[in-house]
Amino acid sequence: MMEIVLNVLSWILLSAGGVFVLIGGIGALRMPNLYTRMHAASVTDTMGAALVLLGVMLQAGLTLASIKLGAILLFLLITSPTASYALASAALLAGIKPDAGRAADETRGP
């Protein structure tokens, strides 16, 4: 009984994580501006990673592998938003303006 619940929960988490990851990929490709792409990529990155890793942790049970997965999740939660912050502030300091227009980012570049 517990097995079935764990499996179903794990399947839900993995599928939701996969959906978030795909949405992030499509967003990074189709958004018009650098900052909107950054927003799509980083938010869905962290959320999708958390869901996928939690889903795999449920499958792993209470073993060393779960602790390693927990460590990976912790490091991703700490470093992925920091990397996005660093990238956004570097882009802003280099002079790329957060316009939403399509032509805005074709003419600019460091």
């Binding site: 490091f75 700490i78 470093t79 920091t82 912050y85």
Partner: protein, 326 residues
């Protein structure tokens, strides 16, 4: 299903390779090389070659990107236009490709169980490792003990590369005293968040590097990967705190000592085999029990490899970063 994943990843690899060659902006090429290394690492991982995948991901996608960027900072960003001998080189490359393709028809099929490597070499290693060396990771056993001489050559190649880079890059006009750009901020010091997170992560990366070093007997790991991870930890510290404080933490003398002592340790273990009455790089005589001797030998030489790789990578990084100052 693995084959489908492999084919998909190899297609992405070909697209990336074509883009790398096609672009003239070297910075774009460096970024795409990072993706290239990752794709290859995933391919290795799918084929169950975990040690190689770890080394490729750590060295190729991490350290190599940093070193390439350091080199780009010293030179220009646009590639110069090519030479005039286009048709000759096209003919040479095409004929070499055709010869190689023709030669692959003689190889056994991928994963064929009747291939010679699966009949003679691999079963021998898989049978003899529990008997002679008794560690779970056969790759480390082959690398460190059965083919220890080759790994000795690899360590000395890394050492020579380090010395070569330091010779080439240490001849600069200004000494370390000219700090013209102190005011513009060294490292990411003016950004608080990456600095805090970076300083928080450095001890964990060091600890993980040590874990990978000593866990190489039981899982994917070993000296090369551990050296790359420990060097990456120091590079992170240098990025967020500035190169001066990193040199204060681990000075160049210590890096030189690490490089030299790592290679000497490896050679010394080999010579200890001769001194104790057996042949070069025979670890069985290092202890009363041959299997315990093998364990001791493997730990010592992996430590030697890790020390040399750390010293060399950090020396190359500091050589680039110090050259960058006017």
């Amino acid at each position: 299903m693995t084959v489908l994943f492999g084919i998909f990843l190899l297609t992405l690899l070909v697209i990336t390779a074509v883009a790398i060659v096609h672009t003239r902006n070297l910075f774009v090429a460096v970024m795409l090389l990072g993706i290239f290394s990752l794709l290859i690492a995933i391919n290795f991982f799918i084929l169950d070659a975990a040690d190689v995948a770890l080394t490729e991901a750590a060295v190729g996608a991490g350290i190599s990107t940093v070193l390439f960027l350091g080199a780009l900072a010293l030179t220009t960003e646009r590639e110069r236009l090519g030479t005039q001998h286009r048709w000759l080189s096209l003919v040479v490359v095409t004929s070499a490709t055709l010869v190689l393709l023709y030669a692959t028809f003689d190889k056994p099929l991928f994963g064929d169980p009747d291939a010679p490597v699966h009949q003679h070499v691999a079963p021998w290693y898989l049978e003899k490792t529990p008997e002679y060396i008794d560690i779970p990771n056969v790759v480390t056993a082959v690398l460190a003990s059965f083919r220890g001489y080759d790994t000795l050559g690899e360590v000395f190649v890394v050492f020579t590369a380090g010395i070569g880079v330091m010779f080439l890059l240490s001849a600069h006009s200004g000494g370390p005293g000219r700090r013209k750009r102190e005011a513009s901020g060294i490292g990411l010091r003016e950004h608080l968040i990456p600095r805090v997170v970076g300083r928080l992560l450095v001890p964990f990366i060091l600890l993980f590097g040590l874990y990978v070093q000593f866990h190489g007997d039981f899982g994917p790991g070993g000296g090369f990967q551990a050296g790359a991870l420990i060097a990456a930890a120091f590079i992170l510290y240098a990025l967020v705190e500035g190169e001066d404080r990193t040199l204060a933490a681990l000075p160049q003398n210590a890096l030189n000592a690490l490089m030299v002592c790592g290679a000497l340790l490896y050679g010394g273990v080999g010579l200890a085999g001769i001194v104790l009455g057996s042949s070069f790089l025979d670890y069985s005589v290092l202890s009363a029990d041959p299997v315990a001797g093998q364990h001791l030998g493997i730990i010592l030489i992996e430590a030697g490899v890790g020390m040399t790789v750390t010293g060399v990578l950090l020396s190359i990084f500091h050589a680039f970063a110090a050259r960058d100052r006017i």
